[in-house]
Symmetry: C2
Subunit: 286 residues, 2 copies
């Protein structure tokens, strides 16, 4: 999807939040705000929101001198999610449709998004609520069928912490079919997006082949991806794209993509015709 | 209160919403966004949020050529609120503490704020919920006592539509003590703030002396107020200040003010130590 004017004030807000995570110096916060504000008149509207977010966060990193302001938050999110892993594995195992429960949990894990909100509340409560609620868009049966027919799967990850829930889903997917699964992380830190470090510290490397997309965009911007990721992208039988960033960057693509996300901003919710907070499991229209 | 950096992205968002209310021309929307963005580096931080909002909305009016983009929305809000008037008068009359119910309704009416959100849902449901919920800050008993002792009252209004709920509260206040009550409106249209036109069309002029504050700020900025309002402000026994704008502009003043508002933004909620959406009836600390 192309950027909307609504995204611009939101990116300014995100820049301020990122500056605050990077430093306590309020003078620097103001400098970040002013510098991003000065960018606004020159922003093109024919690119996707994550492409602009990438520029904004690079600028925040340059000004604050902190290349990974969410480092600590990511470690905490990983540890919190790992502490919930045994309990949710039992919930999945005890359910009548373990794959569906794992899908819902993987979407619930997408709440851990520091671009949208500085805190996400109690992860366990969020996940419990998500299990009880129906999906806002429900292409689960199509996903289940597609999974049966897929030998090569590309799983485009999103955030740290969330990656533990992705791992639980991949473990369930393997019980349906033991496919070749590649889990894609960002090349360099941006916001709280998962990198190889997060994949290793949460055991993702034990259940999938972890590869970097070659980019530090908070999304999958194909023109920035490595040739390995592009080759897998075009040859995969099934692509799972987690989160709003991957949705924003791939929503106009014509591949066999299933989007797993929480609709976190009013604009995305309006475009998808759902409510803010709804869990989305949506098959790409080809 | 002085402006916080958090207010700046929010004002940019408000400018976009105001531009959209003023015109459907998307090129003009972009022009508004860019022009307000260019203002940001020059914004002083030692003034209150409504002082900056006043500049932003003046700029939107200049660019769009529409001096009163919320005109229609204000008429609708007035009519909606008037249609609820008979029913809520019965609720007030039937309660064990009519003044408290009228206070809660007056605060509930503060939901009609087009600066904070483009729509405010079903007014009846909002008011019903507000009646059932406790106040987030509850200085009601102090207010009731003060009312008994007050002969001259200044009631600083906020929005169109909301003014009908203010009228209901003033009618109950008159049952406690038949004071001299001045209801203050904005001199010129800004956002959906009530002007004399709204006061007359909702019958406020039948229950209070309606006067303009002499300013088009979405608040009570004393340096911009008419000498009549200033004289009343300093001689009143009791001042009722409705809404966030009046709170932001008067929260550091040392007068006998009771603030009636809904905490609509996360910053105000944090400063007041309440949740977003909470109803506030707060006595100014002198």
């Amino acid at each position: 999807m192309k950027i909307y004017l609504d995204c611009i004030p939101c990116l300014l807000r995100q820049a301020l939040e990122a500056a605050r995570m990077a430093t306590d110096d309020e003078v620097v916060h103001r400098t970040v705000l002013d510098t991003v504000a000065r960018m606004i008149p020159g922003l093109p509207l024919d690119i996707t929101p994550p492409e602009i977010a990438q520029r904004v966060y690079a600028l925040v990193a340059d000004i604050t001198g902190n290349q990974d302001p969410c480092y600590e938050a990511k470690q905490i999110a990983n540890q919190q999610a790992l502490s919930l892993y045994p309990g949710f594995k039992e919930v999945i195992a005890g359910s009548s449709d373990p794959l569906l429960v794992a899908c819902k949990l993987a979407i619930a894990g997408n709440i851990i998004d520091l671009a949208q909100q500085a805190s996400y509340g109690d992860l366990k409560s969020v996940a419990d609520l998500a299990l009880a609620a129906p999906l806002g868009i429900d292409d689960y049966e199509k996903f289940r069928k597609c999974l049966h027919d897929s030998s090569l799967i590309l799983y485009l990850g999103d955030n740290a912490g969330e990656i533990v829930f992705d791992r639980m889903l991949i473990e369930e997917m393997r019980k349906i079919k033991d496919s070749e699964i590649y889990f894609v992380v960002r090349e360099n830190p941006i916001i709280n997006d998962a990198t190889r470090l997060d994949a290793v510290s949460t055991g993702m490397d034990k259940v999938a082949r972890v590869i970097s997309n070659g980019s530090d965009a908070p999304a999958t911007i194909l023109s920035q991806c490595s040739s390995q990721v592009l080759q897998l992208y075009h040859s995969a039988d099934l692509i799972i794209a987690k989160g709003q960033g991957n949705y924003e960057s791939l929503s106009d693509e014509k591949e066999n993509i299933f989007f797993f996300l929480r609709a976190k901003c009013p604009l995305i919710a309006r475009l998808l015709r759902v409510n803010v907070g709804d869990a989305i499991l949506k098959k790409q229209k080809i």
